[in-house]
Amino acid sequence: MGKGIATINYAECMACGCCVQACPFSFLDLMKTDVDVYHKNYPQLVPDHKCTGCGLCATACPVDCVTIQ
């Protein structure tokens, strides 16, 4: 994985939570957004996260919408 932190492409994200479960530090969580008409909880880095850019979340994403940037 490259340097950076977990970045979500919300146009592709399905809010399935695979990235959240994959994060070994629980730095990602599903939180309410205005991304779609249903105001679903989408993954976001939590406040004060210390994302290392390990990329486990990106590997776990079934639709490849998580990248390390």
């Binding site: 249903y38 679903k40 079934p62």
Partner: protein, 662 residues
């Protein structure tokens, strides 16, 4: 790198011994993981006739083969045990995040035997597993206990926790196992088994990667489905009341035909399972007034109150189980209900709305929200609890239960305050609640023969909220499955939208057909019931969700994912053979423990004996005995007794893999 870990963890609660066990690859090839792995372990390990609440019963938590491999809607975990409710095979499945957590600890399943002297919980992370004292959370409800255990065990990664509530601590035979603050593996009485072992919770905090054979292919299939689901959005101006109209149309149609299951995605995303609240009432799908009434009784003035729009109006956020791209769940604000006792509840499922709505002639939606939270916290199955309250009301109506026996509760149809009070008594096993806390079969046995007419069940399990007099295929699954009374095994409607015939050579093609034909026992209908149940077992071995199954095999490509995850190259027919093997092993388990499969036949009322005299289902009865025989015959089981035939056991190689069973 085959999708599964190849290992299980065995915990003896009597001795405290914890041991890993390697499972041969051949077991996975023959039975998958999940429920198949569970059936393999339990068949071999539990001695015939072992007390379901004793030391010899084994309680297993299993993950699906596909969980965490890059597939979607495959994040279900399952609990397996000898059921104290039916005496036979017990399983129940649930969403949330517990299924991937099992695999992230390095296991496909965790199995408990023995009984602990004191309440304990199991903690597992990458370094290993240990039993820890749980006296401080014993007595807490499932939500409180989960929060307490999360707080004390959240070091780096938030743990996933399966936990019992107070109903299971009190060994209610209709109790389940909870997770994620309101999800519950409710059926089969698995909670009572966990309570009997004094195991309060399983806390998982592993962070191991889940690997598979071809991750790129897995994602390619997932993306294809995601594109389709993303497009499924119900326009906001469409009201929920349209579902009542849709139900009337469906119920009134003489013919049925296959539909594109992808449309289910649209309804699920908008409303979740309450989409069926009105549709079920008006189509004849929802059993009403303890299976004795019709929509003439539970008419519009009643059912309009449980409109799905009224439910999602309270929804403050959507809820997805792990890996789900539909997201049928939600969290609802209920601060204004019951004097602010609870702030929120997981959105009540259709099953709960129907069990505490039409089944009880109840039109008070607020009471359903409140009961939903009471039951989620206690860890009691809302289907069985609703069915048991309906039984109690009818017993009261007919003088079998008296005001003295009910502690002054007036158990009349639709009396929401009395229903709430009764549920509280059942949870606490207080007064009349103690009699009712083990479901209708046990209660009827205690009250005597006259009450048995009102005890609606199949093999001791209260049925799901779908009427077999509307869909006789459902009746076969209620009656002829090793887990009786289950609405999730299959139905004629499921069959029509699953499109199995596109990948399974022997599955009958569903063209346009007369619904009345489904009421005539035939080998064609029996092939449908066999296909439904084989496919369900494959899904349960994979961690798949019922609502994904109903999207259709042409969209939710289960067999393709299994091949990509494992590197196998099996056809649809070969996977269905695995499903048949799992199903046959579940039946062998029930028979081993003394169950007579004929005794699982659904109650007369469910079969329309006598038929209803009004409403959409007027005059309908199901020739269930003949249909059960044909179902068993097509499975290669004895058609008269339901016992798997020796040649079938041998052909499926079950004699080989069950060698050396206890």
């Amino acid at each position: 790198m085959l999708g599964y870990t190849g290992k299980i963890l065995n915990v003896n609660l009597t001795s405290g011994e914890i041991k890993e066990e390697v499972i041969p690859d051949r077991v996975y090839e023959m039975l998958l993981s999940g429920v198949g792995l569970g059936a393999y372990v339990l068949y071999k390990r539990i001695p015939a006739g072992a007390d379901p609440l004793g030391t010899d019963n084994v309680l297993g938590f299993v993950s699906g083969l596909l969980t965490g491999t890059g597939s979607v809607i495959t994040g279900r975990w399952m609990v397996v045990c000898r059921s104290p409710l039916t005496g036979g095979w017990g399983d129940s499945n649930c969403g949330g995040t517990f299924s991937p957590a099992i695999k992230q600890c390095g296991y496909d399943g965790i199995f408990f035997s023995g009984i602990s002297k004191e309440p304990v919980y199991l903690y597992v992370d990458n370094r290993g597993a240990e039993l820890r004292p749980a006296a401080h959370v014993w007595g807490m409800d499932a939500v409180e206990a989960e929060q307490a255990l999360e707080k004390e065990n959240w070091k780096r990664k938030k743990p996933s926790i399966a936990v019992i509530g107070t109903a299971a601590e009190k060994i209610s035979l209709i109790s389940g196992i909870c997770n994620d603050g309101g999800r519950i593996a409710a059926r089969s009485g698995g909670g009572a088994v966990m309570g009997s072992k004094r195991l309060k919770a399983v806390v998982l905090a592993g962070t191991k990667s889940i690997t598979c054979h071809d991750p790129e292919k897995m994602k390619e299939i997932s993306k294809e489905l995601a594109v389709k689901i993303r497009k499924q959005n119900m326009p906001g101006f469409v009201p929920g009341s349209i579902l009542a109209f849709g139900g009337s149309m469906l119920g009134g149609m003489k013919r049925a035909a296959p539909m594109d299951g992808i449309l289910v995605g649209m309804l699920m995303k908008r409303w979740g399972t309450p989409m069926n609240n009105l549709m079920g009432a008006t189509s004849g799908d929802s059993p009403l007034k303890n299976w004795g009434g019709s929509v003439v009784d539970y008419n519009k003035s009643y059912y309009k109150n449980i409109d799905a729009d009224r439910i999602i109006k309270r929804e403050t956020k959507k809820y997805h189980c792990y890996s789900c791209i539909l997201g049928c769940g939600g969290v609802c604000d209920i601060k204004d209900i019951a004097n602010g006792e609870f702030s929120h509840t997981h959105k009540p499922e259709y099953e709960t709305c129907a069990a505490f709505g039409g089944l009880l002639m109840n039109k008070d939606l607020n009471s359903i929200f409140y009961i939903n939270e009471l039951l989620n916290r206690a860890g009691m199955d809302s289907i069985s609890a609703g069915g048991t309250v309906a039984f109690a009301i009818e017993c009261y109506e007919n003088g079998i239960l008296t005001p003295e026996m009910t502690g002054g509760l007036e158990l009349t149809w639709g009396n929401a305050p009395a229903i709430i009070a009764l549920i509280k008594k059942m949870i606490a096993r207080e007064g009349i609640g103690d009699l009712l806390a083990d479901g209708v079969k046990v209660a009827a046995a205690k009250l005597g023969i006259p009450s048995s007419e009102y005890a609606v069940h199949a093999g001791g399990q209260e049925p799901g909220m779908h009427d077999s007099r509307m869909d006789p295929v459902l009746g076969v699954h209620f009656s002829a499955d090793p887990t009786p009374g289950r609405h999730t095994i299959g139905s004629g409607q499921y069959y029509d939208i699953m499109h199995l015939w596109e990948q399974v050579s022997w599955a009958p093609v569903s063209g346009s057909y007369l619904k009345a034909d489904e009421f005539i026992p035939s080998e064609k209908v029996a092939l449908k019931t066999v296909a439904n149940s084989c496919y369900k077992e494959v899904a349960d071995g994979s961690g798949g969700c019922l609502f994904a199954m109903t999207l259709g095999i042409n969209h939710w490509k289960l067999f393709d994912w299994l091949n990509a995850a494992t590197g196998w190259n099996k056809s649809g027919d070969e996977y269905m053979e695995i499903g048949k093997r799992i199903q046959t092993l579940r039946q062998m388990f029930a028979v081993k423990h003394g169950v007579d499969p004929r005794s699982f036949r659904m109650s007369k009322r469910m079969a329309g004996e006598p038929p209803l005299t009004e409403g959409l289902l007027k005059g309908n009865s199901v020739r269930i005995d003949e249909m059960m025989e044909l179902h068993w015959k097509m499975y290669g089981w004895d058609e008269k007794t339901g016992l798997p035939l020796p040649e079938t056991i041998s052909q499926l190689h079950l004699d080989e893999i069950t060698q050396g069973a206890a």
